[in-house]
């Protein structure tokens, strides 16, 4: 029963392994502090509480002030605080990344699962959709989305939220979500094809489960680790995509985001004014790195094969 004891090791150790590494805890702390900042900005906006550091458009000093005691990260060409803009940018980036990832997963998982489970026409349609979407440059698609959604608004008065304009942040979320689901869809499809041939799926069928039940109740829970890891990877990708889009002038307008900050600071660099570019880039770099390392650890803890490999590696070095 060697196999069983191996599994015991893997599953028994999961939560501990995640919290044993100081680096992982650090990454988790960084990620949560970013999220807290973003949540803070949201709360401040919704309650019209307006603390000082969410007032990014207020003039706080002279133009192009280098970092000093009063303005820690300096000021931009209008004398606005770079620190406040960076914090506001975190809100934009995280919102876009979060919603785009959710939209992507909501589209990708059912489509991929159905395509993998059913042969024939369903599979053909989904695969065709994936290949077609990947063959269109996503910036073109996003342009199209931004154009279409410019004057549209989502009527949520029945929820008490009023009319939500779809231009700006929602347009970027929708555009990224609708163009970026292909990778996850392929991953889910391949994994479902693998899982449905395993014995437990056959057992479920032999005890009277319907196809639908086997797929969504038995197979999908076996894919959670893949979804979590790909979510963390997509998340970083969407943060970058938002920055690139804003840099190109296709993204968020009338609000600072890291992309627009980098775009504006590009012209100021020649004047020796490096702080705006640096703060946006460092903010982006730190969250990307933290999520990447955290995603790696998640993969290590959730993928049984990987743990076993690691263990063998350790064993070998030990014996030497």
């Amino acid at each position: 029963m060697k196999k069983v004891t191996d599994n015991n090791f893997i599953n028994g150790q999961q939560p501990q392994l995640l919290l044993k590494r100081p680096l992982t805890i650090l990454c988790l702390a960084i990620i949560s502090s970013y999220f807290l900042l973003a949540a803070f900005v949201y709360v401040a906006e919704l309650t019209r509480w307006n603390p000082r550091f969410t007032q990014w458009d207020k003039k706080v000093g002279a133009e192009y002030e280098s970092p000093n005691g009063k303005n820690i990260l300096g000021t931009d060409y209008l004398g606005r605080s770079v620190l406040r803009k960076t914090i506001y940018g975190a809100k934009v980036s995280l919102t876009v990344a979060l919603f785009a990832s959710f939209i992507g997963i909501i589209i990708a998982v059912p489509l991929g699962a159905l395509a993998g489970f059913y042969h024939g026409i369903v599979d053909d349609i989904v695969v065709w959709l994936c290949t077609t979407l990947t063959s269109i440059p996503y910036i073109l698609l996003i342009l199209a989305f931004a154009l279409v959604l410019k004057d549209k608004s989502l009527d949520l008065t029945w929820l008490g939220l009023g009319q939500i304009p779809l231009a700006g942040i929602p347009a970027v979320c929708i555009a990224l979500g609708f163009t970026g689901w292909v990778g996850i869809c392929r991953l889910v499809r391949a994994e479902v094809i693998k899982q449905k041939q395993l014995d437990y799926a056959r057992t479920a069928r032999s005890f009277g489960c319907s196809n639908f039940r086997i797929l969504f109740r038995h197979i999908l829970p076996n894919l959670y680790h893949i979804l979590i890891v790909s979510f963390s990877i997509r998340f970083v990708y969407y943060i970058h995509a938002e920055v690139i889009l804003s840099f190109l002038g296709l993204g968020v307008k009338n609000a600072p985001s890291w992309g627009t900050m980098i775009d504006l600071a590009r012209q100021d660099l020649t004047k020796g004014c490096w702080w705006e570019m640096t703060s946006a880039t460092v903010a982006l770099f730190v969250i990307s790195l933290a999520i990447n390392i955290f995603g790696d650890t998640l993969r290590d803890t959730l993928n049984p094969k990987f743990i076993r490999l690691q263990r063998i590696k350790y064993k070998v070095t030990y014996e030497r």
């Binding site: 599953n11 437990y200 069928r205 032999s206 009277g208 319907s210």
Partner: protein, 269 residues
């Protein structure tokens, strides 16, 4: 087969083919047999002779893209299982005919607890609340001889040993009180002591609940002691079938003779 009323499952001229690149492969050819209520019917044969294909055919579990039942009838309680719709077939699976698979470690879903999986089978076929179904699952685990069933029901498959998993599998099979259990080599991945325990359990269930058992195996020693009827299979055909004692003592087919000779050689060792 004098008393026709007591026949539970009747397979008539069943043929099953798997699709291969070289064309259809006849895994089961023109097989007929009857299983009586409360009897243990053993199906013996070497690996790849079509035993599992036959068992899967009875429950229509062969995936459509892999193979197809090409002919014959399967009557269960007078109902032709090959002519009913998939939805009705789902009500037969688990509730009337249950399946015990060869590899218990792979047959359970690794992400759910044992108790949950047994409870799910109960809720699929009986109108019971989740809580009631779970307590049924615990009762079943107790019945198949698992210690501390309340605790074990909350454990995951990887925390069980092979023998315990097979017991849990049997608990899952009997939880809806089926009339027939198809046990596809239930003990081939277990050691000899555990094997005896599992077979004793099956025999005990047969006695208590009058469940018929289709026991698929390649081990003639098991068959000789426990089965009422035996059928010997080779290349998808049943060579001979009948009362176990008669076949073992007086085999008519040369293949059966060689099987018995090999089995007795093993048991002498």
């Amino acid at each position: 087969m004098s008393d026709k009323d007591s026949i539970l499952l009747s397979v008539k001229n069943l043929s099953t083919a798997y699709f291969t690149k070289q064309g259809p492969l006849q895994a089961v050819r023109d097989v007929s047999f009857d299983i009586r209520e409360g009897a243990i019917f053993a199906l013996v044969g070497t690996s790849g002779c079509g035993k599992t294909a036959l068992a899967l055919s009875i429950l229509r579990l062969i995936p459509g893209h892999q193979g197809r039942i090409t002919g014959g009838n399967i009557f269960f309680n007078g109902q032709d299982l090959l002519s009913i719709r998939e939805k009705q077939m789902r009500k037969v699976r688990g509730a009337e005919i249950a399946f015990v698979f060869q590899q218990p470690a792979a047959a359970f879903n690794p992400v759910f607890t044992i108790g949950n999986q047994i409870a799910e089978t109960v809720t699929l076929h009986q109108k019971k609340t989740r809580k009631k179904a779970f307590s049924d699952a615990v009762d079943m685990l107790r019945k198949v001889g698992i210690d501390e069933p309340e605790k074990k029901a909350r454990q995951y498959p990887h925390q069980f040993s092979g023998g315990m998993l097979q017991r849990a599998m049997i608990a899952m099979a009997v939880c809806c009180r089926p009339k027939l259990i198809i046990a596809d080599e239930p003990t081939s991945s277990l050691d000899v002591t555990t094997e005896m325990g599992i077979l004793d359990l099956l025999c005990q269930l047969r006695k208590e609940d009058n469940i018929s058992i289709l026991l698929i195996t390649h081990n003639l020693n098991i068959v000789a002691n426990r089965a009422d009827y035996v059928a010997v299979m080779q290349n998808g055909r049943i060579l001979e079938q009948g009362d176990t004692k008669k076949i073992i003592q007086n085999p008519s087919h040369p293949y059966t003779k060689s099987l018995i000779a090999n089995a007795s050689k093993n048991s002498l060792r």
